[in-house]
Amino acid sequence: MKQSIKNAIEVQNVTKVYGVGENSVTALKDANLTINDNEFFTLLGPSGCGKTTLLRLIAGFEDITKGDLKLFGKEIVNLPPNKRPINTVFQHYALFPHLNVFENVAFGLRRLGKNRSEIEQKTNYVLKLVQMEEFSKRRPNQLSGGQQQRVALARALAPEPKVLLLDEPLSALDLKLRQAMRIELKTLQRETGITFVFVTHDQEEALTMSDRIAVISEGEIQQIGEPNSIYENPANQFVANFIGEANLLKGICKKIGKNGLCKLNSGHEISLEIPSLIKVNDPITIFIRPERIKINKSSSSKIKSFISQFTYLGNAAHLEVESNNQKINITLPIDKVKNFKNADEVTLEFPKNHARVINQ
């Protein structure tokens, strides 16, 4: 029987340390993850978190300090980059400035020793795929940023790698082009069926394109999961803050269990599930997304809450509500924007199934 999901890449206990002795820096600590075949997998994290290091380890540009790396079940740790059927789209493209577009794209095929007609046919095919066939005689410096991006993509796709690594390929493009390229990349991945490993610090990019995301911080993988599960169920406060906006509200546990209760420092009481590891009267932190909090106008509530800052965003509004000196962020949908203004007194409601206790 054929296995439906194959493991494209297995990263097992991988550690990378730069330098030796006192000056050494651990860029990646004991990383474990498995990337499936045909998957659009994203490594997401702030700059310097180790995501690019992991990508470069997979590509073979750096030597692994400790751990194992498997490509479709085969050990690749000791292979130099030219022996790995993996190609990279570099952050600033790294197009060869002395070669024209065609020669750039054909470079890998030539090194693989393919015959002329095959090189020509494949090169033209991928150039067509990225809509750059008219530019094949141009030099990289005669192309716009977006065009260079396409050529870099074509160059990496031409040798038909088993895995394509993309190192922040959209970061040098302007917003409009970036948004268009997101869709294009996603489509390209689906059509070619190649496993994409995509590195970015842009959470929106990660959420819109990926099948699964690994959130990395300070050299450690914080969470791996599908975009919606990471957004809805962040594993810790870092993930909650890094992806989207989050309220992390401090309070005291009043009751544990499926119908637990927490009294927030702001004075509100939230009923939610509280795991039994926590004891009554323990201080806890509650996570809830700003768009999940319900807000109503009122002047007669027990807990005095008022809008301390109202920011109009065009398609929504952002509110900062103050109660008991605690600040709570709320995102207001467009149809409710008109009902509120600065200094309004309000009441807040925390829906049970959208709030949860979150670890440090």
């Binding site: 590509a59 073979g60 540009f61 130099p80 980059p81 030219n82 993996i86 190609n87 990279t88 570099f90 952050q91 600033h92 790294a94 197009l95 060869f96 400035p97 002395h98 470079f107 890998g108 090194r111 693989l112 160059r155 990496a156 040798p159």
Partner: protein, 266 residues
């Protein structure tokens, strides 16, 4: 009536433009005078009597000058490529080798010939060859020139390497090039303008070098600058002006070529 525009930008200092003109005048008038006098028909270098090519013509029948020019050329053609080769490998290792031990030492070693006063290098090399009894004629001079030219060849090569995106080599490795073909197809072609620049500078420095050659060269290995020196010592003649002008023209053409090469590659 227009209001007289009295606005002057903060960074625009009065008098600096005129000063700069004087500065360039100071740099170029002597060269200009020298070249002018080389076309003087008078036998007395200082007195202008009329325009003539005769001193240039005379050069071509002066066997000593031709021999000296030939020596200069042979030395530069041998020393400059050797200096460039050493400079190229050293630059590759120093720029691309990461933070290895002895890196500071090696780059210090390269610039040593620039730090030590030329006259000291010259007499030290003279003592060295004399003490060890190495007397190989032109080869002595070639060795001395190679050493002295290394830092000049090194500078543009190092600059070109530092300007090159190291990801280009990684991209080549990623696209199935082994170490050698990545070097052959990517690094070397991209470095060629830098290497050529380095070679040209080394060549000019070798042809122009005077003090080291004066001390190191024996009887049969006189170079053009050393020959000019001995002519000047005997008295300024229009012939010296002519051969000096040719030497100037040679350097200027070479350096201009180097400049265009650099401009194109950047």
């Amino acid at each position: 009536m227009f209001r007289k525009n009295k606005f002057r930008h903060v960074w625009d200092f009065p008098g600096f433009s005129g000063w700069t003109a004087i500065f360039f005048g100071f740099l170029y008038v002597p060269i200009f005078v020298l070249v002018c006098y080389s076309f003087n028909s008078s036998s007395y270098a200082m007195i202008w009597t009329g325009f003539s090519f005769r001193w240039y013509e005379k050069l071509f029948f002066n066997d000593d000058i031709l021999q000296a020019a030939y020596n200069s050329l042979i030395i530069a053609i041998t020393a400059a490529p050797m200096a460039t080769a050493i400079a190229t490998i050293s630059a590759l290792v120093i720029v691309r080798g990461g933070g290895f031990r002895g890196k500071e030492f090696s780059s210090g070693l390269i610039t040593l010939p620039l730090m030590v006063p030329e006259i000291v290098t010259a007499v030290a090399t003279l003592i060295f060859f004399a003490t060890l009894g190495i007397n190989l004629g032109l080869i002595n001079v070639i060795i001395a020139h190679t050493v002295f030219c290394i830092p000049f060849a090194y500078m543009p090569i190092k600059a070109a390497l530092e300007a090159m995106d190291p990801n280009l080599e990684l991209a080549a490795r990623d696209l199935y090039s082994d170490k050698n073909s990545a070097f052959r197809y990517i690094t070397l072609p991209l470095l060629t303008p830098g290497i050529l620049s380095g070679f040209m500078l080394a060549f000019v420095i070798s042809v122009d070098d005077f003090i080291i050659t004066l001390m190191v060269a024996g009887g049969g290995s006189t170079t053009l600058p050393v020959y000019i020196y001995s002519m000047v010592k005997m008295g300024v003649t229009p012939e010296v002006n002519a051969v000096s002008s040719l030497l100037l023209a040679f350097s200027i053409i070479f350096v201009t070529g180097y400049w265009f090469l650099n401009k194109k590659s950047s």
